[in-house]
């Protein structure tokens, strides 16, 4: 998703070139929105994504190089965490809605058969439920690492914590996700039925 002349666009944006900034927005809006969607309900996710770009524009001067994507996702993470803190009851219920909004049905599937599609849906639903059961900090790191594919270095920037903390959160989050899925392995695709 990196843009060829990202550095130049950032420099122009800093000088007030809104068009350059909007090019950056277009490049990253899907990732930002998806992060928000996995953390909040669709309406709040939309607001959070918009707020992320507003804040990013206002504070471009504080961006000191490194991964722009990580920087943006960090802003989005902070906004999502704030929102979760404000409405503690929201995430569990809202993730169902998030699943609906981001369900495989919305995305063209490469898989042909309806059975495979159904399995993917089933798996997606369980994954979303498993994510919803994680503490916010573990959910965030799992989303950023395993869904968005951020490197560990980017994660330390995005979460503003040490490499050790990142590793530890990922390990704990994954372990819980594994346990969650294994407890339902009979409902999942065959790669989860290794023990049988």
């Amino acid at each position: 998703m990196a843009i060829a002349d990202e550095g130049q666009l950032i420099r122009s944006s800093r000088k007030g070139d809104l068009e350059a900034f909007n090019t950056l927005v277009q490049a990253y809006q899907r990732q930002v929105y998806n992060l928000c969607l996995r953390m909040l309900d669709p309406v709040a996710a939309e607001d959070a994504a918009q707020q992320t770009f507003i804040n990013a524009y206002r504070h471009l001067s504080s961006f000191r190089g490194g991964s722009f994507r990580a920087w943006l996702l960090r802003i989005a993470s902070n906004i999502c965490c704030d929102e979760l803190r404000r409405h503690r009851s929201r995430p569990t219920a809202s993730l169902d809605a998030a699943l609906e909004a981001g369900s495989p049905a919305d995305v063209p599937s490469h898989l042909a058969g309806p059975e495979e599609e159904a399995l993917r849906r089933e798996l997606g639903w369980h994954l979303q439920q498993g994510l919803a059961a994680l503490p916010a900090e573990q959910r965030l790191v799992i989303i950023l690492r395993d869904i968005h594919g951020l490197s560990y270095e980017e994660l330390t920037e995005a979460l503003h914590c040490s490499l050790g903390t990142v590793k530890s959160r990922i390990a704990r989050g994954r372990a819980r996700m594994r346990e969650y899925l294994m407890a339902r392995r009979e409902l999942l695709p065959r790669q989860f039925r290794l023990r049988e």
Binding site: L18, F21, N22, V25, Q26, Q29, R30, V32, Y33, N34, L37, P42, E46, A49, Q51, F53, I54, N55, A56, Y57, R58, H59, S62, F63, R64, R74, I75, N78, D82, R85, A101, G102, S103, P104, D106, V107, R120, L123, G124, L127, I142, D146, I147, G149, Y152, H160, C161, K167, I170, A171, A175, M177, R178, L181, M182, L188, P189, Q191, L194, R195
Partner: protein
């Protein structure tokens, strides 16, 4: 013992599996884990499940953005952290906290019967005031300031109270006051110790605090167009929380609010907070006093 040690090592290896999958283990740890995996079926199984979990997570689809998030116009007002304003705010908050703490100490001292605020002393003061006779009721009703001076005068005389410890001990029984002050019959008809007790307290010093509280909303209500900044001000604690978390420069959400937060607003919110705190304490105090005075009724 050996079993426990094996379990411990096993747990450590399990914990390393995640970093191993991402190739983030140091060379030595990786070799040790691989050696363990050769001999541990459970860990091999867990590793396979972990890989499957990660693969499944990676297969989750990305939703399309429901709309474009491009900005139609540059967001209003570039925001810079304003250390001066923040320092001022911090100072004011500190002052509020100190004031509240001091007031709490005074009230606690009063409850605990410490010198300067004890019930006995007040009983004594009340006795003195009644024995003073004619001037007191008028002074109480008309001029709180004068009452304060009476109280002060009484406080100066406080050591004299030590001369009559039995009377003080018996004070809760309510009658000794009459014994102590022969002109008690005059005071008895007045005999409204409880209303007296109630009205007496606030007019010593707390009334201004209460009126401050009542004044605050009016001040806020005048400035209707400042409502959005008020909301931002309400979010301030979270801002600080984030700053504490160390997310310094990329806290636009936080700093945005710092932008909308004018000095007046900080002061206003401080006043509201202070007023509300003081008001609550005074209410609690007055209520406790009221209870006490009811308990002292004959």
């Amino acid at each position: 013992m050996l079993e426990a040690l094996m379990q411990f090592r096993h747990r450590r290896f399990r914990r390393d599996l995640s970093a191993y999958v991402d190739d983030m283990l140091p060379e030595r740890a990786r070799r040790r884990l691989e050696a363990h995996l050769d001999s541990c079926q459970t860990c091999r199984q867990e590793l396979a499940e972990l890989r499957a979990t990660i693969e499944a997570l990676g297969s989750l689809p990305m939703a399309e953005a429901p709309r474009s998030f491009t900005l139609a116009a540059a967001p209003a007002a570039e925001v810079r952290p304003r250390p001066a304003a923040r320092r001022l705010e911090f100072g004011l908050r500190l002052a509020t906290a100190t004031a509240a703490f001091a007031l709490a100490l005074v009230i606690i001292g009063d409850f605990a019967g410490l010198p300067g605020g004890g019930e006995e002393e007040e009983e004594w003061v009340r006795g003195q005031l009644f024995s003073a006779g004619q001037e007191t009721p008028a002074a109480m009703e008309a001029a709180p300031v004068e009452t304060t001076t009476l109280m002060e005068r009484a406080a100066v005389q406080t050591p004299a109270a030590n001369e009559t410890p039995p009377a003080l001990e018996a004070a809760p029984a309510e009658t000794p006051a009459a014994e102590q002050t022969p002109p008690a019959p005059e005071a008895a008809p007045v005999e409204t110790p409880e209303p007296y007790g109630i009205t007496e307290m606030p007019d010593i010093s707390e009334v201004p605090g209460i009126s401050d509280v009542q004044r605050e909303p009016a001040v806020g209500a005048d400035v209707t167009e400042e409502e959005p900044p008020e909301n931002e001000a309400l979010e301030e604690p979270e801002i600080e929380y984030k700053a504490d978390a160390g997310a310094a420069e990329a806290q636009p959400a936080a700093e945005e609010e710092g932008n909308g937060l004018s000095r007046e607003e900080v002061v206003r919110w401080l006043e509201i907070g202070l007023g509300a705190g003081v008001g609550a304490l005074v209410i609690v105090w007055a209520f406790a006093r009221f209870q006490r005075s009811i308990g002292n009724r004959p």
